[in-house]
Structures are given as structure tokens and as C-alpha cells.
Chain length 234, copies 4
């Protein structure tokens, strides 16, 4: 069942330790199949070097396991809520990567301070508030997903133009058109979080990236006038 | 004698350089056998690439060598005091890992600022005071063990819920049910110490992790209602 | 066409990930052939592990592709402007390397704070201002090249004595007599940017490197009285 | 000539990049033979992967080349002055390692803030002043050596109890009984420089390591009552 997607999700999970984003069994990546309304996610708490593609768990958009020998990631319900609400999302990555987590623990939005940021995130990456007592009791993981939706709606953000969020006191979620791009965005978010932290330390009065440069860099890589990379026909 | 335990302790010692926690011969890991009232520890000052499992030294809970060709770690007496007092502890790890040592040198408790911390440490990791002149003269390593006990008793901490301590001006000790988990806790402590340092730098007014989130994260991984990872039957 | 130069440029591009200066497809290195008035540059957005020397693109000093299956780097026009104006430059390297980018995002010149800097850069590395709205609209990459020229002319800097620049909010460009030395200068710039950041944090009143030491270190490696390294005849 | 020493010096030089202390051809390690009054040092500006033991250069204590195909390190005269003056020194290592250089560029002594420091350096590592114009003109490298001697004499320091120095605006020199221990001390100095930097940032009012702990840690590893490591007979 969904064997090709399982392989993609498995490979994308391996990219988390490869890029230094996780230690031990931390982190989880998933990808969805819109036709069947299902997604594939890493099992919970299994070491990366003991995983194989067939261990990936198949889950529906209500977070119910459809196929799989193992229990899925403890964050599965968060993934499910996001796939159900945001139809553009094809893959999701969660980690406690060092520098994005530093911003999350500081409880601050990650501002667009440079073109490395602007190449991928079209503006600040928002930091979502702590869950309330009531939300925690109602269901921590489902409510985390709902909070991400709330955060993007309140700020009127395009989920594909800003493909990530920081959860206060916790860490980042990123997403993309598939599992691989979700992890790529995790790597970039962490890199930018590190750059911006030290740039802010070096000059607390540093000017933010002007809108004209933000536009230029984002739009030369994204949208119909993009000219970065090779044309599809190549 | 205790060959299986020696192998476990040997492997756990090798994890110290593997995870970047030590340089040269620094650091030492031990594990105990409650039935015989003995523990196994790394010999002192021997390079990691020249160690083998059979070089591990067997010691009793009074710190006396029972078997072994080499002198045990110079910190052996500290391990002995901890095993003797805390019956839950099965393994102990000591290093001068960078970021935990930074907090130790700063003389500060490591506060619970994020869920990465809460997943393993149920609250702040305490920083124990400097030993007094009298304590140093009486026996540095034994008194270090007693100071750790004093620190946990004064603060009324559960040694397994907060499986680590910082020694002011020195570095961390961590422990767990066995040698491997003791080292895992060293890795996590160092990771969290780094995150928390930079989060504090980024926002000195960052809110501490609310108790509800600390509870949620700690208890979804520990205790009878835990749901992280795979069920034992799997 | 220019096969030897393509090989040099290909190898120099591989040095960017080797020295940890780039992630993914970021970064681009070129080198020019003064006789033919052409330069060779990396294609845009192709993964480093899928590149080969023959994929390098040949471009003239007006930024027009002369030979190549792929589209050249999106920053090609910046390279072209620099080769056309500065006849001493044989190779150019661009990346978003962490620490040089931190200074660029802070919008600050990188001062000469130590001999590691003075061994390669004969004085501060300038930070060029943001492009204006008009410049962005006129042509982002061409104008970036012109801005670098403006920056060096306004400050009366020798482009080979200070072989690099920071672009505000963006990142560094470095250059040298060939592709290899351009990348070497990128590595050194990033190393120095890191040193200087933390030295400034440690002591905001640190004395700048005295001119006599700056002279000594730069001139023992460069110019006709240099005595570092081996004599050409060796 | 001195083949065994050349091999030791060659291996110790390779340890500089192995431990991440140098990039490119930076850094140089030497060791001396007290019987012949000669020392062996790395040639200048040759890449580490192109070196072999036979390329090492033999020099006398006046800095004159006695044997060798290549020019010796440009810092050779500094090594010579130190060997001539300090008869206890058997090996010397020089690098621009990141964190020691940060302290050198900040122009500050590296204080003993923790036991990692105390295990090797019996007190603060001094930062020597900038050379004067006159000294630079008289002979930069010879005067650097004399300045190190002046620094240790003025402060009445034992060169073997504090086996290293920071040169303001430049970087560290360390030494030891042989080439290997000189490099080991470089590694430790850099590690401690990093720890102390961040500990100071975390708590600017952190207490210095009390003398009783400094004594305990230094003396359990050094001198006739040392009990760290294995007895020589083992």
C-alpha cells in the first residue's frame, strides 16, 4: 500500500539526521496521497538505523492508522490536522533542530533579515503561542495542528509562501509539496534561524530586509516569473 | 566477571566521543549490577581507541577495586557514592561536554525552557555548589558524590525524574537505568544546555515553559500513561 | 571549449560544500579566460552531486551564454560585470556562508581585528549598501555588480588587496587570481567573520589590529618582499 | 638526520587539521632534540595532504636551517627563541584555532573558570601585548619569541605549569614535553577558550574557580602526588 510514498517518506526521514537536524529517534516526516486521502509517517521512537521503508505507517486525515505494524509518530495527529485543512501541503517535517528551536524557545517570530530567508520564506516565520491548559487537556497534538491553522489565518499568511511555523517552547514544523521539500525547508529554516540570531546579536539595529529585495529574491525562485534553476524542459 | 556488563559499559564509553561529548581520554561511564553490589567503570586516562571491554574495572560500592588490570577512573569514588545511595540508578556518565559545562561554569541551574528538555528532565537540572576547602581535603571525589545527594535532597528532587546534575565550575553527571541511557541523557543535557543558552541570549525575558506543557511532554514519554514509542509487546 | 577551465571551475564549485560554505545548490564559482574574453560558471540550481565539469556554462563579459546545455547561475550577470571592470580578477566565488552572511545581514564592514584577517585581506572588508528600488527594477544582478565597483571606487580600495565584499542583507562575494583562490578567500572570509564576531562580543572595546601588524602580516605573504611559503623555484 | 623526531613532528602537524585547529596550510608544530641543540619544524605553506615526514626542516636554536629541502615555517624564529630560553620545552604548536584566537583578538587573558582548564593550565593563560613598531621592524618573529619570555617573566609564571600563551590580535602558542603534548595543549586551550567565552556570556558575574579546586584538579594530574591515569609500571 502506497509503497512509493513510503519509500519517499523513509528517505526524507533519513535526511533529518543526515542534515544534523535530529538526535536519536527525534523528528518525524510524513507525506500524503491526496487521491486516497491518506498519509504515510514514521513510526514512533524507532532508531533511524533500524528503520526501513516498509515500517512507515499509513494514516487517514482523522489520524487513524489504516495500515502498519508499528504505532505512528506521537505527533501524527498534528500532521493529520494540517493535511486535512491545507490542501496544498504534500509533505510535513517536524524536528527540534537547534536554531529554529532557539527562536521557538525565545517565543519570537523569525524575521526576514536576509536573502537566504527570502529565497524560501516570503516574510517572517510566525511563532505560534503556547497551548492553553484547556487545549492541552482536550488533545495536545490535535490542538497543536489547530493552533498552526489559527496562526496562519489570524495573520492572513499563505501556507505555501511561508512553509513553516515555530511552536513556542517547542520547535519548528515545516512543509512543502512533498516529503523531500518539507525537509529541505527544515534545513533552510534552521540555517536562517542561526544567521538571524547572530546578525541580531552583532547589530541589534540592523535594518530589516527591504520589501523590494524580499520580493526580488522570493520571486526569482517562485511563481511564474521565476528564473532560478533549469526550465522544466531541460 | 560481569562480562556482559563490561561490554555494555565499554560500548557506552565509546558513545562519549561518538556524540562529541569528550576529547582525548576525558569522560567516564559506569554501570552497576545490583545483585552483586558491584559496578564496572572505565580505567583512568586510557585513549578510547586503545580500550577494550576486558579493560573495564570492577569496583564495589565503597569504591574498592574488586577486579581489573588497570586503575579505575579517577572519578570512581563519586560513582560509588551515587550507586550506594540511589538504588534506582543503573548507569552513570560523566563528561566535560561543552554546553552543560558552560552552565556549570556559570554556576546556574539549567531551567526547563523547552519541550526538548521536558521530554527527558522533569524540571530544572540543578547546579551543585563548589566543594568547601574542608570537603576537598576530606576527599574530593567522595565528597562530590555526597554533594550531589545533598543537592537532590535539599531540593526534594526525584533522581530518576531529573537524571542529571551540574557541578559548579566542573561539568555534568547524568545517570539512567543503565549505561546506555546514562550517556543518552548526557547527550540530551548538552543539546538542551546549548538551546537554552542561545534562547536566553535571544530573549532574556522569554517565558519559562508552562507547567502544563512540561507535564504533557514529560508524561507522554514517562510513567504509566506514556504513549511515545512502541508498546513493549511490539 | 575551455575544457581545462571548466574542470577548474567544477572542482572549485565542489569546494564550496566541502568547506561547509553552502547547502543544497546554493553558491556559484566562476573563472575567466582573459584571452577569449569569456568565463565559465556553474549552471543554476543543479545539485552538487549531479554536476560534472562538462555541465559548466560558458558566458561572455556581457553575461550572454556562449556555450552550454544548461542555464547559468542566476547570479551570472554579477560575475560578468566584475570580470569586465576588474581586469585583475581571474575567479569569483559567491555563497551565503554562515558568518560572512551574519556580517552582511548586520550591515557592517568586517574590520581587521586579527592577523588571520591581515594574512589575506589588507584592511576591512566593505559591506555594500542595499540596492535601491530603481536599481532592483533595472536589473538586480547587473546592478549588484555595479554596486560592488562603486563600493571599491568610493573607498579607493585595491580589488586584489581586499579580495571580497559583503552585500548588505545578502552575503559575500570573493575573488582571486583563479577559481581556487576565489574559494580559498571565501573560506578565510567566513573564518575571520566568525572570529571577529565573537571577539567583538567578548570585548567590545578590543583594540583594532595596529597598522604595523596589519602591514607585517599582509606583506610577509603578499608582494615582492613576501617570505611565506616556498620560493617559486622549489 | 633526526628521522624519528621528523616522524613525530610530521604526525603532530597532521593532528592540527585532524582536531579542527587549522585550515589550509595554517599552523606549525615543532619538536627539539636537546642533545644536538636542534629542532625539527614543518616547512612553510605546504598543504597538509602533500607533506611527508622527510619534508620536515631541521633548524638550530638561532633559527638557521641545518638540513631540509624546503624553507621552514615563517614562524621558525619564534620557536627557536623559545627552545633556546626555556629548556623544559620539548615541542611547540602554533595555530589560529578559532576560540583561542577570539580571546587573543579580544586582548584578554583566558581566566581559569573551570576544571577542564585546571586539569592542564595551572592558572590563567596570559595574553601578551602587541609588538611595538620598533620590535616589528627589528624582527617580527624573533621579537614575538622574546615577548613570550617577557610575559612569563613579568608574571613569574612556570612555563610548564601554564603551557601556552595568547598573542594579542594573533593567536595561541602552546608547548609541552614533546610535539604531541604541544598539540594536545592546543586542543585543550581551544576547548577551554570556547567554554569560558560562553560561560562569561551566560553569567558575567560567575565566580572564578576557587584556588582549592584549581589546586585539586591540577595536582591530581600533575606532579608527584598525581593519581590520574595509569602508574608508569602498568
Amino acid at each position: 500500500m502506497l509503497d512509493r510514498l513510503k519509500e519517499e517518506v523513509y528517505q526524507a526521514n533519513l535526511d533529518l539526521p543526515k542534515y544534523g537536524l535530529v538526535k536519536f529517534t527525534w523528528g518525524n516526516v510524513s507525506a500524503c496521497d491526496r487521491d486516497s486521502g491518506l498519509f504515510v509517517i514514521k513510526p514512533s521512537g524507532i532508531a533511524y538505523d533500524q528503520l526501513s521503508a516498509k515500517d512507515m505507517v499509513v494514516v487517514n486525515f482523522d489520524g487513524e492508522v489504516v495500515e502498519g505494524e508499528f504505532s505512528p509518530s506521537s505527533d501524527t495527529a498534528t500532521h493529520a490536522v494540517l493535511y486535512k485543512h491545507f490542501e496544498e501541503i504534500g509533505g510535513i517535517s517536524h524536528s527540534h533542530s537547534m536554531w529554529a528551536t532557539v527562536w521557538a524557545q525565545a517565543g519570537l517570530d523569525l524575521p526576514a533579515m536576509g536573502t537566504t530567508h527570502a529565497d524560501t520564506f516570503y516574510g517572517a516565520v510566525p511563532c505560534a503561542r503556547f497551548l492553553t491548559e484547556e487545549e492541552v487537556n482536550r488533545g495536545y497534538e490535535v490542538e497543536t495542528g489547530k493552533l498552526i491553522i489559527e496562526t496562519f489565518e489570524k495573520r492572513n499568511l499563505d501556507v505555501m509562501a511561508v512553509p513553516g511555523v515555530l511552536l513556542q517552547g517547542h520547535g519548528p514544523f515545516t512543509w512543502g509539496k512533498d516529503a523531500k521539500s518539507a525537509v529541505t525547508n527544515s534545513v533552510i529554516l534552521d540555517e536562517v534561524a542561526k544567521m538571524n540570531l547572530f546578525a541580531k546579536q552583532l547589530n541589534e539595529f540592523a535594518e530589516p530586509l527591504p520589501q523590494r529585495i524580499l520580493d526580488k529574491h522570493y520571486l526569482r525562485k517562485h511563481g511564474k516569473h521565476a528564473y532560478y534553476g533549469q526550465k522544466p524542459s531541460t
